[in-house]
């Protein structure tokens, strides 16, 4: 595969899928790739957006040394991620709602009449035409798709003029420049839901919006051939619910429209019917991955007793779910497949998983398939990364605040006659610690805070999730006693031990004596060598 890879995450759910995708990159699933990542929202303050952008920044700092970064192969953090942030700005006078941004009261009497007639035909007066857009499109995707398309076009016009360019427009320009350059060699994967607001609004219009934006930005000198550029997307339907908005909240004009999760299935059904028949979607996408959750989902926000339903903003941070990880794996399929991307009409695909006693049971092969040992490679990498997380967080104490786990591990290795990595700075090791906390867990005083993989596992519970239950221990004592080399369900993948030496000690010996990075791993700096060395030693220990 020589195509250039692009990822776009839209809206709150799209951001969480991107979080899963970033973790797949961290475990090494996108070898030797430089991936351009665009976060797209209406809501610059969205909690999920902020969280994933910080995660990617952290990821990039871990890869960077002396300001440089490059892709590696067959190691942790192998892909290089370039992050761009764009949001449609609805702040400022005259941009607060549809009525104002459309300037319905401007123009001649005839023009005003016609614009009002059209608006009243399609968009409800008093609610859809008047709610505050600052927190997104609030599940009003008919309005949202129109505004998102024109928001991107507005930015492209501003770029073409070259005056008063806003920071987010500049970022969009960089992303568009890369996309334009890749042209028909581009594979673009979009993360978003079909049941919510911003993501659901944007998926159908993005290929056209980017094509038109590229044309406008270049004053017609360049374009994007949508029959050749490969677009793929998730069609993720509802998998969570949240507190129902009350009448008091909806009585204010700004909040006259609040998404109500009990109607998500209706919206999903309407959306899927649209995706199945819309000629624009059919002709601009190559592959659409439908992912849903047909069993009971846990409601969000019950513990918080939120006074209001969260419509967006910094408070919108929801726990992670297995469906988001499956979405990230859909991107893996789209980016790695050798065929099925030259069809003139979109192909709709889905996945089936082992189901028993009303729960899903996930196997490694369920995520990336079993062709060319993909499932085994995934198992090896995820298992190795989870073991490393436990080594840093529990064996070396980083899960507890103020402890430097990676540094402690490096010092331990140095004491065991492996001093090569002591030159990695404290700041650099703290970044690795912090990434592992985000990936697995941390403690706030005595309170256990689950990270991404723990939250994913929790969403599957009581179903099976690749590893044994001990791999997801959560008390200080259990974690302190955890055998980090025995996380798999199958004993054959447990690290070796002997009568005189536990698995962890055996692993450290392997690390000291074997697993030195090879040239084809393309590691350049000391930090990358350290991570590749651990990756290699774990791979040797796991017997895949």
């Amino acid at each position: 595969m020589n195509d250039k890879l692009f990822v776009i995450s839209v809206g709150g759910t799209g951001m969480r899928c991107l979080e899963a995708f970033t973790h797949l990159c961290a475990i090494g699933m996108f070898d030797d790739q430089e991936i351009e990542v665009l976060t797209l929202d209406t809501d610059q303050s969205n909690g999920n957006k902020d969280k994933v952008e910080k995660l990617i920044d952290l990821y990039s700092r871990i890869k960077k040394s002396d300001g440089k970064s490059s892709p590696n192969a067959d190691t942790f953090f192998s892909a290089k991620l370039n992050l761009y942030k764009f949001w449609t700005n609805y702040e400022g006078a005259g941009r607060e709602n549809y009525r104002n941004i459309s300037k319905l009261n401007s123009g001649t009497a005839d023009q005003q009449e016609e614009n009002r007639l059209l608006s009243d035909l399609f968009l409800e007066r008093g609610t859809v035409q008047d709610f505050n857009l600052a927190h997104g499109y609030r599940a009003q995707t008919h309005l949202g798709s129109h505004l998102m398309y024109h928001g991107i076009i507005e930015a492209a016009r501003s770029l073409a003029l070259g005056k008063d360019i806003k920071v987010e427009e500049k970022e969009l320009e960089s992303f568009l420049g890369k996309l334009e350059k890749a042209g028909s060699e581009a594979r673009v994967f979009i993360f978003g839901s079909v049941f919510g607001g911003t993501g659901a609004s944007s998926i159908p219009v993005l290929p056209k919006a980017f094509k038109d934006a590229i044309e406008i930005r270049s004053n017609g000198k360049s374009t994007l051939d949508l029959s050749k550029t490969k677009f793929g997307s998730t069609l993720l339907t509802e998998y969570f619910s949240f507190k129902k908005p009350d009448m008091k909240q909806m009585s204010t004009k700004d909040d006259s429209v609040v998404a109500d999760s009990s109607f998500f299935p209706l919206n999903s059904q309407a959306a899927l019917q649209f995706y199945q028949s819309d000629p624009t979607v059919q002709s601009t996408y190559k592959r659409l991955y439908h992912i849903g959750w047909p069993i009971e989902s846990k409601p969000l926000g019950e513990e918080k007793k939120d006074e209001k339903t969260i419509t967006g903003g910094a408070n919108q941070k929801n726990p992670c779910h297995i469906t988001e990880m499956i979405c990230a794996c859909a991107a893996y399929d789209f980016f790695t497949r050798q065929d099925g991307l030259d069809n003139p009409k979109a192909e709709y695909v889905y996945k089936a998983i082992e189901f028993d006693k009303s729960t899903y049971n996930f196997d490694f092969n369920d995520f990336v398939g079993n062709e060319n040992k993909a499932g085994q490679i995934f198992a090896n990498r995820l298992g190795a990364f989870l073991s490393l997380a436990h080594i840093i967080l529990s064996k070396n104490g980083a899960a507890t605040k103020d402890e430097k786990g990676t540094k402690a591990f490096i010092n331990f290795l140095a004491a065991q006659k492996l001093p090569e990595y002591v030159a990695i700075s404290d700041d650099e090791t703290i970044e690795i610690d912090n990434y592992m906390k985000a990936f697995a867990y941390t403690f706030d005083s005595q309170k256990f805070i689950p990270g991404w993989i723990y939250q994913i596992r929790s969403s599957v519970s009581p179903g099976r999730f690749m590893f044994n239950d001990k791999a997801f221990s959560f008390t200080s004592k259990e974690l302190g006693d955890l055998d980090v080399g025995a996380l798999f369900l199958e004993d054959k993948h447990h690290w070796d031990k002997s009568a005189f030496s536990g698995r962890y000690d055996t692993f450290c010996k392997t690390l000291i004596n074997k697993g030195w990075p090879k040239s084809d791993q393309k590691v350049n700096n000391l930090k990358e060598k350290f991570l590749a060395h651990i990756y290699n030693a774990t791979t040797l220990s796991q017997n895949f």
């Binding site: 300037k103 309407a270 439908h290 979109a346």
Partner: protein, 372 residues
């Protein structure tokens, strides 16, 4: 060892439509999508047969990501509801209420056409400029046209020559001054997102104040005659309307099989209604002349004929024809018929026997009426 069961990781769907899947692989859903999406399980929202619900379902169903969602929903409704008597809930319940509304809208055209106004709005920016240059890119007229995307050719006048600038349009329909809906090349008509009717007519649902199929009401025999005639007329025009889209790509060509089926069912329902009420249907087609081309093909009915050299045509495209309304040739109101015997001998000897006459009063003479 028990056989391993796999279950599709898809939206909750009726078991008969749930795809089976292939272990570890992404499997195709493309060919099954129409059935699959139709049988998605949604919460009951209690829409009664007249479309009344405790919640504003039209506002809830906002998941269709196009500003033309309202129009698309009518297309989906007409495609999804092929059996009006079937018990349905959720989105299908909503679709059923939309079909009811759609029939009500047609009935309004048939029965109250004199109170209808149609205004064509071209979906282009008022300043005549393109997306790249216009002052306000969010102006609805232009912006809505932009987001038709691939559908744009479908919403244009198909009769324009290939080198003419084709601009999509919508005919917005007002009833007694209120915007009630518009025209669509896919569903012919759709109602607006929020209109409230106060007229006491058989096609108005007094509970939710929207259009409804007047067969739910006490339809008078004359109204039934007119509605029956108009629906039949409309149905007969579908094929001619469809033919104008023949030049479009297969992705865009509209199909009207379900609309046709719906109208035929409606005609049967009218016949049953008449039978129950003891009416005998005498078709009458109302004079509707409010629509412009191409929707005039579907909705307009006029008795206007065309004449040339004594030959009468009903097609304006015949060369040299002059339009005339046969209504104007009818005898004036109050005219009385009288028999005038010109000849008492052999009929063949009377040169007036095969002629018709119109007599003009010429005053009285000696107490007797004189006429020309």
């Amino acid at each position: 060892m028990a056989e391993k069961l796999i279950k599709a990781l898809v939206i909750k769907v009726d078991s008969k439509s749930e795809p089976g899947g292939i272990e570890y692989k992404w499997d195709s859903l493309t060919s099954r999508m129409p059935t699959f999406t139709k049988n998605i399980i949604t919460p009951a929202i209690g829409v009664d047969k007249e479309g009344k619900s405790e919640v504003n379902i039209g506002a809830i169903v906002s998941g269709m990501p196009t500003v033309f969602a309202r129009s698309n929903l009518f297309l989906n409704a007409l495609n999804a509801i092929t059996d009006k008597t079937a018990e349905v809930d959720g989105l299908l319940g909503f679709y059923k209420s939309l079909v009811d509304e759609w029939r009500g809208f047609i009935s309004c055209l048939a029965l109250n056409y004199q109170d209808i106004e149609v205004k064509r709005i071209h979906l282009a920016y008022s300043d005549g400029k393109k997306l790249t240059e216009t002052e306000n890119i969010y102006e609805p007229k232009g912006a809505f046209g932009n987001v038709l995307f691939e559908r744009k050719p479908l919403w244009c006048d198909q009769t324009l020559s290939s080198n003419s600038a084709k601009i999509p349009f919508i005919d917005v329909v007002r009833y007694n001054g209120q915007v009630v809906g518009g025209t669509s090349p896919e569903s012919f008509l759709f109602t607006s997102v929020s209109y409230q009717l106060s007229e006491k007519e058989p096609f108005v649902n007094f509970k939710n104040r929207s259009f409804t199929d007047p067969l739910n009401s006490d339809l008078q025999p004359e109204q039934l005659n007119t509605l029956y005639g108009y629906v039949k007329f409309l149905n007969n025009n579908i094929e001619r309307f469809r033919l104008q889209f023949e030049g479009l790509s297969d992705l865009l060509k509209p199909r009207y099989d379900n609309i046709n089926g719906n109208l035929q069912d409606w005609l049967k329902e009218m016949e049953t209604f008449a039978q129950k009420k003891g009416f005998k249907i005498k078709e009458q087609i109302p004079e509707v002349t409010k629509f412009e081309n191409p929707f005039s093909i579907l909705f307009n009915h006029s008795t206007e004929l065309y004449g040339c050299n004594g030959v009468i045509y009903n097609d304006s495209r015949e060369p040299g024809v002059i339009p005339f309304d046969p209504k104007n040739l009818l005898l004036a109101e109050g005219t009385e018929l009288a028999q005038i015997v010109f000849w008492k001998g052999r009929k063949s000897e009377c040169k007036f026997s095969a002629k018709s006459f119109y007599l003009y009063p010429a005053g009285r003479n000696k107490g007797r009426e004189r006429v020309f």
